[in-house]
C-alpha cells in the first residue's frame, strides 16, 4: 500500500496491537457465549411453554409445579431435576456474563476513541445487548426472590412455599402479578428478552461457525426476532391476564 513519501518515513507509528495478548481467546469466549446462550434459549422456551399451563386452571398448574419437584423420583431425589437445572443454569450465567464483559472491554479497546455512530435500526438489538442483558440479570434476581424464594419485599404477601405434597404456584403467581409494578417490570424484562434473543440467535449460529449465505442471514435475523417475540408474547399474556382479571 503506497502512501505519500513524506508521511511514512517521518513518523512511522508504533505498532498498535489493539487486540489482546494472552487470556481467554475471543473466539473461545464467543463459543462459550453461544453455547451458554443456546442453553438459555432452550430453557426460556421450555419455561414459557410450562408457564402457559396456567391457562388450564389452578389445579393443572400446581400439579405441573409439583411434578417439577418430584420429577424422576426416586431415581433423582426430591427437587433433583430442579437442582440440576439450577446448577447448570448458574454456571452458564456466570460464564455468559464473564465472557460478555471480557468481549465488551476488548471491543471498546480495539475500536478506540472514535466510536461508530448513527447506525440503523437493523443493529438496534445488537447494540443494546449489554442493556437488555443487564435488565435480564436484574430480572432473574428479582424473579427468584419473588416466585422461588417468596422473600419479602420481592415476593407477594401471603406467599406459600411448596411442600413435599403440594405446590401453590398458581396463587403465588396471581398474587405477585396483582402488584402493577411487578407486572410492568415483568413485561419490560420480556421485551428485553425478545431483543436479546433476536440478536443472540443470529450471533450464536455464526459463532458456532455455520457459514450462512447473505439471504439465509437475513432469514436468520427474522427467525431470531420471531423466536424472541414468541417467547416474550407467550409470557406477557400471563401478567396481562392477571391484571385484567382473566386469571384469579
Amino acid at each position: 500500500m503506497s502512501a505519500p513519501a513524506h508521511s511514512r518515513s517521518a513518523s512511522t507509528p508504533s505498532t498498535p496491537h489493539a487486540g489482546h495478548k494472552g487470556g481467554l481467546p475471543s473466539v473461545y469466549a464467543k463459543l462459550i457465549m453461544a453455547a451458554t446462550g443456546a442453553i438459555f434459549a432452550i430453557f426460556v422456551l421450555v419455561h414459557m411453554i410450562g408457564n402457559l399451563k396456567i391457562y388450564m386452571g389452578a389445579e393443572a398448574f400446581n400439579s405441573y409445579a409439583h411434578w417439577l419437584r418430584m420429577a424422576f423420583y426416586p431415581v433423582l431425589p426430591y427437587e433433583g431435576l430442579l437442582w440440576i437445572m439450577r446448577v447448570v443454569l448458574s454456571v452458564c450465567l456466570v460464564a455468559h456474563v464473564y465472557c460478555a464483559l471480557l468481549l465488551r472491554r476488548r471491543g471498546a479497546t480495539a475500536r478506540g476513541r472514535w466510536k461508530r455512530r448513527g447506525l440503523g435500526l437493523d443493529v438496534f438489538a445488537a447494540r443494546t445487548m449489554m442493556v437488555t442483558g443487564v435488565v435480564l440479570l436484574l430480572f432473574i434476581v428479582f424473579h427468584i426472590l419473588d416466585l422461588t424464594l417468596g422473600m419479602s419485599p420481592a415476593g407477594p404477601d401471603g406467599f406459600q412455599h411448596a411442600t413435599h405434597e403440594a405446590s401453590y404456584a398458581y396463587s403465588n403467581l396471581v398474587a405477585s402479578f396483582n402488584r402493577l409494578p411487578v407486572a410492568l417490570f415483568y413485561i419490560l424484562a420480556m421485551g428485553c428478552l425478545a431483543l436479546h434473543l433476536a440478536h443472540g440467535v443470529v450471533s450464536a449460529v455464526v459463532d458456532f461457525g455455520v457459514g450462512v449465505r447473505p439471504r439465509v442471514f437475513s432469514a436468520l435475523a427474522g427467525l431470531g426476532l420471531l423466536f424472541g417475540l414468541v417467547i416474550a408474547i407467550g409470557n406477557i399474556t400471563i401478567p396481562v391476564a392477571v391484571l385484567t382479571g382473566v386469571l384469579q
Partner: protein, 250 residues
Amino acid sequence: MKLTIEVWRQEDTTTKGRFVTYQVDDATPEMSLPELLDRLNDQLVTAGEEPIAFDTDCREGICGTCGITVNGVPHGKVPNTPTCRQNLRSYDDGEHLKLEPFRAASFPVVRDLVVDRSALDRVIASGGYVSVDAGTAPDADTRQIPFKVAEQALDFSACIGCGACIAACPNGAAHLFAGALLSHMSTLPQGKPERSKRARGVVATTEEEFGPCSVYAECVEVCPAGIPISAISAVNREAARAAIRRNKDN
C-alpha cells in the same frame, strides 16, 4: 456543485488532530472523492497552504489503497463501493461532507486522512500464504478443481485489504478480512496441507491486532469487494477445527 468539506487534519501520529472546514465551489457530480480532494488540494497549494494527505492509487477500485470515512461511513454513502468509486452525484449541491480517516485503534493516523494499516499485513504474514516450491509453473491440469469450488474461493479472495470492515465495526474487529483469507485458502487444494497451521497463526494475530466480532454485520455493508457474511463464521470454524486437530498442520 458547491460543497462544504470538513476534513480531519493531523500533523502526525503523536500530535492531536482537528477538523478544518473548507469550501469547494467548482466540484462536479462526476468527480470521485479522491478527485474532490485533488481539487481541494489545488486550492490549498495555490493559497500556499499544506495539502491534505490521503492514500490513493489505482482509482478504479481494485487496489484497496484509498479509504476514508465520509459522514461517519467508511468509504462513503454508496454501499460496497470503494472511496475512489464514490461520486459526488450521490451528494446534493451545497451538502456538508465530513471526511475522516478510517477510525479504529488498530489504524493509527499517519497524517491527515492516511492511516497505518500494517496490522492487516501482520495478519497475512502469520499465515495468509501457501508454502510452495518456486519451481517451473505446474501443468494447468495437474490439480483438478471443480468450477464451483474455484468460484467460491475466488469470491473470498476478492478481498482488497482496504480495512473498511474494521473501520465499520463497532468493535474494531477484522473477522471479514481474516475470514475471507482463511476461507479462500482452505477451499483450494494448494491451501489444504497447512489449513490448521494457518488458522492458528491468522486467528492468533487477528486477536492481537483487532477486536472480537459481535455479528453486527456492519462490515458487509461497506466491503467494496462484496465479501459475503459467511466469511466471519469461518474464523470461529477454522479456529475450532485447528484446536481439535491439535498439532497437525493440515
